[in-house]
């Protein structure tokens, strides 16, 4: 069979000098699901951007449909029949589903936008490829899984033969992932070709026919899915053996964090969290499970002191937290690894050393008589850089020059420089590569073993299941289920509660949270 897409020895160096693709090869057969996997920074996104015309290669050859091609801009790739669904959707929230699908290529009668025809075409496409979505509601009001279908429909409406899906499962609940896979299979059955960028290996093995593995800007191998297992793939991706297993907490400590009858309201006064009750013991990780936007992040912000509370109480070791400001909370031993490291965790323009002492500016060791002790700050930074193996030129380098994983390590290093009593963690490994993930997980469990009570929130169920000792599931601002973690607990079970299909009785929840 003739390959549909062939990339031969593609190289790309970014203006900053980063060699993102180093003689990369990719061969995609028509009608297959081809996964491209690799850690962050392995060069998958760059390769896809080259295929889609967002970036141009410095050297190498691209063959599409038997002919050498070069796309100067996405428009040309689209016209050639290549569609791409990015991780961040390009949809206008207030526009209806059908308006978003046809935007830029609307059916017209005269100068008028022919809405009836647009709706009919969208319905026909969604029928044909089993991408069920109502064409009429505004996109901003439908779930993320359906928004993704709208993006796929957009590509199909423009007659895409090849669909590139960039980490499509990152934003989905497990049930939605199943639905996406049904759609992908139906697309392939009808002659489309799908390129699937991913890093969650079980999913890759389930959906793809063939897998290209990338590492450090190079292709390290191409394998048939049926010939490999998860362990083998992980080793290929990282280039060494990885153990993403952590030990559970050994014994039960006394209750450290207690949240009682907590209500949180949004800026507009609408309730975000209602009647939350939970306890976290010393040396225990409590996982907060839920589709994003169901109140988990807000709970963490409320405990951190970044969000006001409408009603209820939060105690740490019997001490009421609510009257305390953020600094006072930190002084009694609260540490926080926030969701967005760039906006909230770090000062991107400041140096690594400055970021590492930013929360300790009333510490005699670093500030004396209102003046910064630069020597002490530098020494502290050097010590933390070593301890948390941050890859950085010098303590004086600006944070902005670091990779995502190393930025996150700086946050972790600052927060865990001293053993906290209460550790809040939100999305610790989002956009972080496998090697750094391993390290960050170990740091969190290390803090746990040192006696910290940990609240962990993550969009990655695998992470929650790997780290948590207990889990609570949030749905529309309430705790609808609670579990003691065990090997029998599956993402599918959690998913049913996350989507509100099932709810545990209050007694069951209370029993699991004793």
């Amino acid at each position: 069979m003739v390959p549909l897409i062939q990339a031969k020895s593609i190289s790309k160096t970014y203006p900053g000098g980063t060699l993102a693709n180093d003689r990369v090869d990719l061969t995609v057969m028509p009608g297959e699901v081809h996964a491209v996997i690799g850690e962050n920074g392995a060069g998958k996104s760059t390769l896809m951007k080259i295929l889609f015309g967002v970036e141009q290669p410095d050297s190498g050859e691209l063959i599409y449909d038997g002919k050498p091609v070069g796309f100067a801009k996405p428009r040309e790739a689209i016209d050639a029949g290549i569609g791409m669904v990015f991780q961040h959707f390009s949809l206008v929230p207030s526009f209806s589903v059908y308006e978003n699908v046809v935007l830029g290529a609307e059916p017209r009668t005269g100068i008028r936008f022919d809405r009836e025809k647009a709706i009919a075409e969208v319905e026909a496409l969604s029928e044909k490829y089993r991408l069920k979505v109502d064409p009429l509601p505004p996109v901003g009001r439908i779930p993320v899984g359906q928004q993704q279908r709208v993006e796929i429909l957009k590509a199909l409406y423009r007659n895409a033969r090849v669909l590139i899906l960039d980490e499509p499962t990152a934003v989905l609940a497990p049930q939605e992932v199943e639905e996406l896979f049904v759609a992908v299979r139906s697309l392939v059955a009808q002659g489309k070709t799908v390129i699937f960028i991913a890093h969650k290996l079980p999913e890759v093995l389930e959906i793809s026919d063939r897998i290209t593995v990338m590492r450090g800007g190079r292709t390290v191998g191409e394998v048939l899915s049926r010939d490999v297992d998860e362990h083998g793939l992980a080793t290929m991706m990282v280039g060494r053996e990885v153990t993403l297993r952590v030990d559970r907490a050994k014994d039960e400590g006394p209750v450290s964090l207690e949240v009682k009858g907590l209500h949180i309201h949004g800026e507009s006064g609408a309730p975000i969290c209602q009647d939350l009750n939970l306890r976290v013991r010393k040396g225990e990780i409590l996982g907060l499970v839920g589709v994003e936007g169901n109140g988990q992040s807000e709970l963490i912000e409320a405990v951190a002191g970044l969000r006001s509370v409408a009603d209820g109480a939060i105690y740490v070791d019997g001490k009421d937290l609510l009257p305390l400001d953020v600094k006072a909370r930190r002084n009694i031993g609260l540490a926080s690894i926030p969701e967005d490291r760039i906006a909230r965790g770090l000062a991107v323009g400041a140096s690594v050393a400055e970021n590492m002492v930013a929360t300790r500016l009333d510490d005699e060791r670093f500030v004396r008589r209102g003046l910064l002790d630069l020597k002490a700050i530098r020494a502290q930074a050097e010590q933390l850089i070593g301890r948390f193996s941050v890859k950085v030129g010098s303590p004086a380098s600006a944070i902005g020059t670091l990779s995502g994983g190393n930025m996150q390590k700086v946050v972790v290093a600052r927060e865990l420089a001293e053993q906290p009593k209460l550790l809040l963690v939100n999305q610790p490994t989002r956009g972080v590569d496998l090697g750094a993930t391993e390290f960050i997980w170990k740091s969190i469990t290390g803090a746990r073993d040192g006696g910290a009570a940990v609240l962990l929130c993550s969009a990655d169920l695998g992470e929650l299941l790997a780290l948590s000792d207990r889990l609570v599931v949030f749905y529309r601002g309430r705790i609808v289920a609670a579990f003691v973690n065990s090997d029998e607990l599956t993402p599918e079970t959690l998913g049913r509660y996350m989507l509100g299909i099932e709810t545990q009785s209050p007694e069951t929840v209370r029993a699991a949270l004793k």
């Binding site: 996405p74 428009r75 689209i78 990015f86 961040h88 390009s90 949809l91 206008v92 929230p93 207030s94 526009f95 308006e99 978003n100 935007l103 830029g104 290529a105 609307e106 017209r108 100068i111 008028r112 936008f113 009001r141 439908i142 779930p143 993320v144 957009k154 949004g266 507009s268 006064g269 609408a270 309730p271 975000i272 589709v291 994003e292 936007g293 169901n294 529309r476 601002g477």
Partner: protein
């Protein structure tokens, strides 16, 4: 008080309201178009002022319609200039807008004194023309309601009729044609139209031009109908009131029309009231439209907040 009521419910007062609302309506529509495309046009005031002076000076030497076109075009050129600075040279749109306003405030006085031979206040010694009124004598012939219809609908500026037509034309454009869809998409979430191959910067550029053209017509109406001739700073903040009217009209052309009419009513009141209440200082009465703008915007944002509160649980339920 009764005198005020009699005045307000007279056909003459209605005609005055339409007259005072027309420049505001044009400016509001101009503000609406650029706002929807994602570029807040704070230069409406300056655009109106420059267009007003352009029209007045041209009308000295040319027929009225040429003057109207000249004012119209002047607004468009200013819009294109803003587009060039904002989109090509990447300057901040608010700063560019204020630059136009400052240019207009000083530049019109300078140009006025050149044109009049030294008068820096008004164009009183220039013989400028007016836009003709449109009389509809046949309406009076309708039995029964004829005379009333005639007194309500006759005697308006040609531009007032054009303004009403523009409201519906712009509505049709925005909500019924593909380019209207693009414009709204560009304003709300530019990444989406960009990914669909729509030239985002171009759409914004033409929105700014359209915004300038409309504001230009507002300025023309002001200097060739509401008053005949140019006075320094004669727009008196109407361009900024128009920005308020865009929000008050819920960023929709029909809403913009009602908002402009509301401000027009108070503008008209500030014209008739000094004759009725000579004991109230005229300055106080003249400040009414501005007070109303502030009050209306406060009420509007309170209402919007309440609406969000009602809608919020619904939205969070969807996610």
């Amino acid at each position: 008080m009764t005198e005020l009521l009699i005045t307000v419910f007279s056909a003459t007062f209605f005609v005055t309201v339409i007259r005072t609302s027309t420049p505001l309506l044009f400016a509001t529509l101009g503000g609406l178009i650029s706002d929807l495309s994602g570029a807040l046009n704070v230069a409406l005031e300056g655009m109106m002022l420059i267009s007003a002076l352009t029209a007045v000076i041209v009308s000295v030497h040319a027929p009225w319609y040429v003057a109207v076109l000249a004012g119209f075009a002047a607004g468009g050129v200013l819009g294109a200039l803003m587009g060039f600075f904002h989109l090509r040279l990447k300057a901040d749109i608010i700063l560019v807008g204020f630059a136009v306003n400052i240019l207009a405030a000083g530049g019109t006085v300078f140009a006025l004194s050149l044109a009049t031979g030294g008068d820096k206040g008004t164009s009183i010694n220039l013989v400028s023309k007016a836009i003709p009124t449109i009389d509809l004598p046949f309406l009076a012939a309708i039995p029964g309601i004829g005379p009333l219809l005639h007194s309500l609908l006759s005697g308006h500026s040609a531009l007032s009729w054009l303004a009403i037509l523009s409201v519906f034309g712009i509505w049709y454009f925005l909500y019924r044609t593909p380019p209207g869809l693009w414009l709204r998409g560009v304003g709300e979430y530019p990444a989406a139209p960009e990914a669909a191959g729509i030239p985002v910067a171009k759409v914004r550029f033409w929105s700014l031009v359209a915004s300038g053209l409309l504001a230009g017509l507002g300025g023309v109406q002001l200097a060739m109908f509401n008053y005949v001739g140019f006075t320094r700073d004669m727009t008196a903040g109407r361009g900024f009131i128009a920005l308020g009217a865009v929000l008050l009209g819920a960023r929709h052309p029909i809403g913009a029309m009602w908002a402009a009419l509301l401000f027009g009513v108070f503008d008209a009141l500030s014209i008739v009231m000094p004759n009725l209440f000579s004991w109230i200082p005229a300055e106080l009465i003249q400040s009414i439209p501005f007070l109303v703008t502030i009050i209306a915007l406060i009420l509007f944002s309170l209402r919007a907040q309440r609406a969000r509160r009602v809608a919020a649980p619904l939205r969070s339920a969807d996610t």
